[in-house]
Symmetry: C3
């Protein structure tokens, strides 16, 4: 199943429209190319509908939000919905400012997202419609652990029902849930939090998986999360003594570039909850 | 001749003003530094004329076009023309939206470009003043092959005449043409299409070659295209089993950094048509 | 002392708000993560005060200045001052345009900066309130050498007094001075000028050191400058024959990631003047 999802991305080569932040945009483009998809970035209000029209999926990321692009997000999302394209929201740093919280809440209200992907602090803030986060990183007190996993799985399913979207929470332990089923994913390595853009890349990457696997979006999301975690493990193992986070970033994208369906199936660690 | 072009870039160290997209801007800056030039990025309407004045060349790239910077492109282009600076247009994704097509067409109308560089789909769209492209990549149906090469060479020469600019088309086979002469370049490797920014980097890089070789802009463009293709070949050969597109990107810039005139002459594969 | 400064960054993990250019923003984020700090980038007028409030330091960089963000810089700076957060100004390319000069001068007038960091041409332009620079690089005629060092040390101390900020000048020889004391730093390697962002990264990095060492900002700045120079030396030594500026950039960030306090103490070359 995971293998099939990965191979569909390479076979269909979906074109993904990204309205995303300028910090990690280059990494998002390269990871999309690495997995066999194609990226296009466009955020001007006068072209986002057209750009979305020629694409297969839309990735909205509020990482460096500015007033100029909020309307572009709404317009692109509306068009993507109209055309039944895959649409994902990455509410980066929601809760860090009122602007981010309000923008994320309004996007969720007006656009039907297939997937909402964030760290646990972002997802909790979005669930409450308010709250505070420590910048763009998850609050350590929110961490998903073996102890609170059952509780968080329940939370994710309920939120999925409320928001009518797959909830995809990344962290040391990931949870991907719709209103009925949840998958818990154990892949990855802690060094992934030491590069900028691991979350943003995962969002762009997941959008490609969604666009290429429209008949099973839940498993497409699970496959994307497993693949990114596996890539993190491969990249970390490749590190030499002098390597740090910059080399790790390159190895991570390289690992996605070289990943086979067989490798993904063999290394994926996930379970249904 | 190619050797001389390369060495002139290192000797003159031209300062290149880039109004370019935020996706690949870092790569553009690093490749300019790699070849011996210096980059400056500036897009605000209140400073572009001054910035262009202190530079030796101007690279306009519409990759993440926004309404705020279109006027900046016109102003900077106008000043560069007035000062007889080298000016290049990269009409990224023209045809993907009406905004991009209109902007590119108006830029070509109002500014005298030394070189217009794009993939074949972009160049064809620009030639027609309308059309559609699949995002930022060339349409496979447009590909330049040995079979249609003669026809495309004729097209490029005619377009050069119509647009009063060197037409530089990059792809598996590249064509660089003015109204009288055309050069066909066979360097490069297909993995270059698997990183973001190979086109944008080529545009910035070509602008540096133009600025440092103002007495022969056609051969400067040919030299830049050969050098980038050669760098792609060197970078690809350097790849180990675990390397992917991220490492390739680094190796590509590294290869430009280390390239000598002798190496370029020895590896360049081009012919006059 | 340097060791302590480095370790305080890892221990306190300061969150740094960056209003910075889109050319090198990814490198700034990754170097902050490499040293143990956390980055957040936000430049919209409607959120900068809130973002600054949750952070420990503010890094303002005018590298790709635009009219939209100038007010954001003022608002964020004002809030950072009110909260006594560490604040640094990087006047990139000041003198290259009237907009940059005016903006830098007004920022210095309205905001109390802990540190102003630039190359010698930028600092001299800022000192005069006018002048011209060759883009974003230092003018060779301005270079700090053994011959003019005494004179420049005096200049830096006097400017620090006038501007009520630590003056941090980077180049082949660095000077870090307050009104009374100056330190001269001899670390680094000339290849650092062959990557984009070595200055921007140093500014972001120094802000993290300031935020984590608020009781001794002068030595925090000296430590950050030594650490970056040492990282440059380590990265350069690591280069193989095929490596160029792209690999160097990765090695530089990697070296910051792996740097220990002991290594920094052993390799730092600085003296009080």
């Amino acid at each position: 199943m995971l293998k099939k999802c990965l191979e569909n991305v390479r076979k269909n080569s979906p074109l993904i429209h990204n309205i995303t932040n300028y910090v990690t945009v280059n990494d998002c483009a390269n990871i999309l190319l690495a997995c066999g998809a194609s990226p296009i970035m466009a955020d001007d209000i006068n072209e986002v509908e057209e750009i979305t029209s020629i694409c297969n999926g839309l990735n909205i990321n509020i990482g460096t939000l500015n007033s100029r692009t909020i309307n572009s997000m709404h317009k692109a999302g509306w068009m993507a919905n109209r055309l039944s394209h895959a649409v994902l929201l990455d509410p980066v740093g929601v809760g860090a400012s009122e602007l981010r919280t309000r923008t994320a809440v309004e996007l969720v209200k007006n656009i039907k997202f297939d997937v909402i992907r964030g760290n646990i602090s972002e997802i909790k803030t979005l669930a409450n419609g308010s709250g505070s986060t420590r910048g763009v990183d998850a609050d350590i007190r929110d961490s998903i652990t073996e102890e609170n996993l059952t509780e968080y799985v329940k939370f994710a399913k309920q939120l999925s029902k409320n928001m009518d979207a797959i909830i995809a929470i990344s962290g040391v332990i990931d949870i991907v849930a719709d209103s009925k089923d949840a998958y818990v994913i154990y892949n990855g390595h802690k060094i992934m939090s030491k590069i900028t853009g691991s979350g943003c890349m995962l969002s762009a990457f997941t959008t490609a998986y969604l666009a290429a696997n429209k008949d099973n979006k839940l498993m497409a999301t699970v496959a994307a999360f497993c693949a990114m975690g596996v890539a993190g493990e491969i990249a970390q193992k490749r590190m030499s003594e002098l390597d740090g986070n910059a080399s790790f970033r390159n190895y991570l994208i390289d690992a996605i570039y070289n990943m086979t369906g067989e490798q993904l199936e063999a290394m994926a660690k996930y379970e249904k909850r």
